[in-house]
Symmetry: C2
Subunit: 162 residues, 2 copies
């Protein structure tokens, strides 16, 4: 199997969670009308004695021969990734389910100025960057348990389009 890198859009990413970027719709007025706000995602981070936390990840770029060989999920929590600075992350995802369906895996580029929030239980690859190493803020759960990992019998090639 081979997967090409897709452009992030609200519709395309909907099965996996929320995009963290300004929607096209009008927001709610804040600060006596000098600003607007949009509620993008409700987070679930404190199940099973978990603590909500902000972490910084520094992640390597995917090599040219990168293949998707492992996926993980957090069955009871959401997890958000926000690139900091100029880096672009890859969001390699499959819908939440008891068992991973490798055929359902998709790959999205998450460019600077945006981010993604993985819905509870969404399967995803460990964080990896596109082209060059990247830093990202991660809004997630810290605490015991809550991570399933599976190894793919047949690793999936990624088409980076170049």
């Amino acid at each position: 199997m081979i997967r090409r890198v897709e452009t992030l859009s609200t519709e395309a990413f909907a099965p996996f969670g929320e995009i963290l970027a300004k929607p096209d719709t009008p927001g709610h007025s804040i600060n006596q009308g000098s600003g607007e706000s949009w509620l993008l995602a409700r987070l679930r981070l404190t199940e099973q004695e978990g603590v909500a936390a902000l972490s910084l990840y520094r992640v390597a770029a995917a090599p040219a021969d990168f293949r998707i060989g492992v996926m993980e999920r957090h069955p009871a929590s959401t997890q958000a990734f926000i690139p900091l600075g100029a880096g672009t992350l890859l969001a390699i995802v499959a819908p939440a389910a008891e068992r991973l369906d490798p055929a359902a895996i998709r790959v999205f580029a998450v460019p600077p100025g945006s981010g993604v929030n993985f819905a509870t239980g969404t399967w995803h690859h460990p964080a990896v960057a596109l082209g060059v190493p990247a830093e990202a803020l991660v809004v997630g759960r810290v605490g015991p348990g809550d991570c399933d990992i599976v190894t793919l019998d047949r690793p999936i090639t990624v088409d980076f389009g170049h």
Copy 2:
């Protein structure tokens, strides 16, 4: 009173919360050694039936004659601001306390590629940007109550250094 805009640093911001940027210290190994992570801040977002949420704010730039006339605090929750894209936010803050001490107010620039997390109860001005309008992701609590607002008897002038 007058306050100049200060550069963000871990030490200077410590009385008000955490800086969201890569520390100088080594991180924890992740992804089989291809990355590092740093736990930057534990969040408190679900007191009093609150829900942890990611929101996007679009905020106006402070006008040249900007003065600090109002401050607010969330007595039972943290709140994080992460500029998205090229905007710079102002973090106008005073230490958590039952009563605001206007003399303790300080003003920090929060540039792209960083962010701040306000510790529980930290007094802060409603979000405002430096120079041009900015967008920011906000990790905060949504739900009933949890916001105190005070009006300053004598508004404070901000020295933008230009």
